[in-house]
């Protein structure tokens, strides 16, 4: 009998916590338990960002666009050496420093994009089908139409028409144009969940729609959300680099990203075989970032296969 009461009190104590904290702590527990591999990778990435943050805060490394001038001559177009690991560009800037800052900023940019597009995808994908009725039809219709909208032309079009663009604007534009596929993926998952009995059971406990969405639906689409987030992360970085390379990124020039580094050289060094060190490195870094995300994503991919999911 003693064991019974302790078990019950344990389970009830959990229920006694504020519902939001309760759900969050459960979510956290599941993330750690189920997605250990991905969790380690993402943590590793965060540590990497932290290292970049520390490196770029070191004295003498805070300004990526610092012009190297020793009082006599400009250190422009130096090949890689011990002093300048990746050489310098025609404006006498240290390429390694640019890459360091660019990587950091690109990662932040990717997180921002991923947050925006995942949030939109969640709202459209979960609440549409869940509230049902007109909202459901509307969200499905909007998603279908937005699926056809070409992402890159739209992003280029909007940014080209803006006189000034801050990196936040660019992030918003990219984020707001890259959610439809994610919304559709989440939506179809929610549609199958919606028909499951536990939703009915929760309704019979007189829980509101919002509460059900948060405590019953979101935990079940969690793996999708993490996957969507990591894909959007990669897409955000690559797209930003692409449009920055065309000179349509942040117009103030103070937000150095990998794409900005590419653009800097695109104008002058394109096809100049003596300057590999300048244009090769940003691309390699971008490829590596994308591959890291590929590893994260491919560990999720089995979750998406309808036939293998049942075994999990």
């Amino acid at each position: 009998m003693a064991t019974e009461t302790t078990l019950i009190s344990k389970s009830l104590e959990k229920g006694e916590k504020s519902p939001i904290i309760n759900i969050l702590s459960k979510l956290w527990g599941t993330i750690k338990r189920r997605y250990k591999k991905q969790f380690i990778l993402i943590m590793g990435l965060l540590v990497f960002v932290l290292i970049l943050e520390i490196l770029t805060a070191l004295p003498g490394m805070t300004d990526p666009k610092y012009i190297l001038f020793d009082g006599v001559k400009y250190h422009s177009e130096y090949p890689p050496s011990w002093k300048y690991w990746l050489g310098t560009n025609s404006t006498s800037q240290d390429v390694a420093l640019l890459i360091l800052h660019g990587t950091k900023n690109s990662l932040y940019f990717g997180i921002g994009c991923a947050l925006i597009s995942t949030a939109v995808a969640l709202v459209v994908g979960i609440f549409g089908p869940f509230i049902g009725g007109v909202w459901d039809t509307a969200s499905s219709f909007i998603t279908n139409i937005a699926m056809v909208f070409p992402q890159i032309p739209f992003i280029l079009f909007i940014s080209s028409l803006m006189a000034t663009r801050s990196w936040v604007t660019v992030m918003l534009i990219i984020g707001l144009f890259s959610w439809p596929w994610a919304a559709r993926a989440i939506r179809s998952q929610v549609l199958t969940l919606r028909e499951r009995n536990f939703i009915k059971v929760s309704k019979m406990s007189a829980l509101g729609n919002m509460k059900i969405a948060f405590s019953e639906i979101i935990p079940n689409v969690l793996s999708y959300v993490i996957l969507v987030f990591s894909i959007s992360f990669g897409i955000g970085i690559i797209t930003e680099a692409g449009i920055s390379m065309l000179g349509l990124g942040d117009s103030s020039g103070n937000f150095v990203t990998l794409g900005y580094v590419l653009w800097y050289h695109q104008t002058e060094y394109i096809l100049n075989q003596n300057f590999y060190h300048i244009w090769l490195s940003p691309g390699i870094v971008l490829t590596l970032i994308f591959l890291i995300f590929y590893v994260i994503q491919s560990s999720f991919i089995m979750t998406f296969n309808p036939r293998t999911r049942e075994n999990m």
Partner: protein, 263 residues
């Protein structure tokens, strides 16, 4: 005193598919019946006959197209959701899908108790949960703190039953509660439903496609076909002297073991 718990009048659910060329399908069509206090009523019919549609409409999980459902003589639309579910509860066919696999089985009980008995303190809640689990024949230390996949279908279904009992409902809707659990657990669940009716006077709307179960458990039966009521009445009357051809056909399709019993 015999009191009407729930009355259903001309209940209709129409599904319309397609936007341009519309096609109508009836989930239920002009269904009327009532359930009295302490009565077990069975809805019998093949799959797709609209039994579950009716259950979902009474449980307010589906809006009827037409018709009226009255609880204790008052339209269910006049009840607040919270009050309504203190009177009417249900269990479903698939016990596995009734649990969110993300949580332990306690989750459904906690949800229920925090709604129905939010004012009681923890110790009291513990006692109530332990008691209720005892009623459905489960030991708390065997069930609480486990994940749904660690328990059997019969256990899960009984926990759901316990969950319903936490509300002390007047009407329990059991939508094919036994069709996805193994045979011995099936008898236990059926006996449990009967015991609940006998002891606490709960009315039960028992939905099944299994005529044997319906005969075993119910006081009255209603036979349904394609959303409409074919025949209804006291169990023995309907099953022993079926008037409609459909009921006869349904009875003749019962495995021969029953037939030999009677002849």
């Amino acid at each position: 005193m015999v009191e009407e718990i729930i009355g259903v009048e001309n209940l209709t659910k129409r599904y319309i598919s397609g936007i341009i060329r519309q096609k109508e399908v009836y989930g239920a069509r002009d269904v009327s019946f009532n359930i009295k206090r302490g009565e077990i009523l069975s809805l019998v019919g093949e799959s797709g006959s609209g039994k579950s549609t009716i259950a979902n409409m009474i449980l307010r999980l589906l809006k009827p197209t037409k018709g009226e459902i009255n609880l204790l003589g008052k339209s269910i639309r006049e009840y607040k959701i919270k009050n309504y579910y203190e009177n009417v509860q249900g269990i479903f066919q698939d016990p596995y899908s009734s649990y969110n696999f993300f949580y332990k089985v306690d989750h459904v009980l906690n949800q229920a108790i925090s709604h129905s008995l939010s004012w009681v303190d923890i110790a009291e809640k513990e006692r109530i949960i332990a008691n209720t689990l005892g009623i459905v024949g489960l030991r708390p230390d065997e069930t609480l703190g486990r994940f749904p996949h660690q328990l059997s279908g019969g256990q899960l279904q009984r926990i759901l039953l316990a969950r319903c009992l936490l509300f002390k409902p007047r009407l329990l809707i059991a939508d094919e509660p036994t069709s996805m659990i193994d045979a011995c657990a099936r008898a236990e669940v059926l006996n449990l439903l009967r015991k609940l009716r006998d002891k606490s006077g709960i009315s039960v709307l028992f939905i099944t496609h299994d005529i044997g179960q319906a005969q075993y458990i119910s006081d009255r039966v209603i036979v349904m076909k394609q959303g409409e009521i074919v025949e209804g009445g006291p169990t023995n009357e309907v099953f022993l002297n079926p008037k409609e051809d459909y009921t006869k056909a349904l009875l003749s399709s019962v495995p021969s073991i029953y037939r030999r019993w009677y002849t």
